[in-house]
Point group: C2
Chain length 189, copies 2
DNA sequence: CAGAATTTTCAGTAATTACTGAAATCACAA
DNA sequence: TTGTGATTTCAGTAATTACTGAAAATTCTG
């Protein structure tokens, strides 16, 4: 790692490590981390130089990141090389990551579970297994469609909701009471 | 894989695959999947037999799962062997997983970011990097403490919230209006 | 306490995944 | 179109991670 300040180097190394713990290869994590903290787009040679990777490794890493929609490719005027940068908005990054993981892993899992649950089986062991799969399916489906749903919310609303934390319970109780009142009115007329 | 019905075999293989995509080794994923759909606790030999792993591999896998608090060890009367089972409550499983990942990966990342952000730097590149790290830190902290917070909610409330999905926005708006009214009253007195 | 049953450890090996350098391909300018 | 710079591909190799079998340790029983 040449020409990287200790601050940035530390960040990059940590992200490489984290990446590998979440099933993303170390190199890819490091490239992303570097782009994330860089104040200008970088080309592949600069990345290879900074992280001390081979040019081809950087090429593969960038391709991977593009497939995750985590980097933007751009051209600088008067320069034939491709420059890469990470989107600035951290919420956007978070959402993109969640969307991609959902598409790649969660959706196929749901589909597998759905198929498994509707299969006709006779064995009691299989019957039990199906119950368990159903429970897992329902949970994943609930969480996953909640995710999709809140993606639609604008960022401020999302932040507001998060900051509310557990206090959201009070709000839900309030909602319950309002509903009873409304329901009462309706049934009275 | 001996004695496993196609239904269960399929489930187990899928989970092994998913595990490895999320940074959990294939074997561990398969052992967990098997325990999850099993209608009774299994001992290590049964697992080794069913999945066709060596006994020592199963031992290591179970140790790993115990460290994630994802399996329960129990003894059957009149049997010296150790039997393992997966907790039944899928929400509990989900929460445990989230807690462990937070403890192992998110918290150390937050700590690294906090340190990086309070470091004194002069280089403009470092200053910029610090801004980015601050943004990431704040997002992770917000989401992570929201997670901790909603863990406290009982399951029904959580399900209610999830089912509400994007409609939660309406509720937040309502809350906003109530606050204004309340605030108005206060300032009037 | 001796011995049997069970579990764990760990060094060696196998399998997988990551990385490189060289060659091929591509993209553009003259 | 040809040449040059840039990027990608891919076969070979390196590094890492996973797995096994044998031995050690642990746990229980008589």
């Amino acid at each position: 790692m040449k020409n990287l300040s200790p601050l940035i180097q530390n960040f990059v190394l940590h992200f490489g490590e984290m990446g590998s713990r979440w099933g993303i290869n170390r190199t890819v994590g490091q490239i992303y981390a570097l782009l994330y903290v860089s104040d200008r787009p970088l080309n592949a040679d600069e990345i290879a130089e900074a992280l001390d990777f081979s040019r081809s490794n950087v090429s593969m890493g960038l391709k991977e990141l593009e497939s995750w929609r985590l980097v933007r490719l751009q051209h600088l005027p008067g320069d034939r090389r491709e420059f890469f940068s990470a989107p600035e908005d951290v919420w956007m990054i978070f959402k993109t990551l969640a969307e991609e993981r959902k598409k790649r892993e969660v959706d196929p899992t749901l589909s597998m579970l759905r198929d498994a649950v509707i299969t006709e089986v006779n064995d009691p062991g299989d019957k039990f297994a199906q119950q368990r799969m159903k429970a897992m399916h329902d949970l994943i489906e609930l969480v996953s469609s909640w995710f999709t749903d809140v993606h639609k919310l604008d960022q401020d609303t999302l932040v507001q909701l998060m900051k509310l934390g557990a206090k959201v319970q009070k709000l839900l109780e309030l909602k319950g009471r309002l509903k009873i009142v409304a329901g009462g009115k309706k049934s009275a007329t």
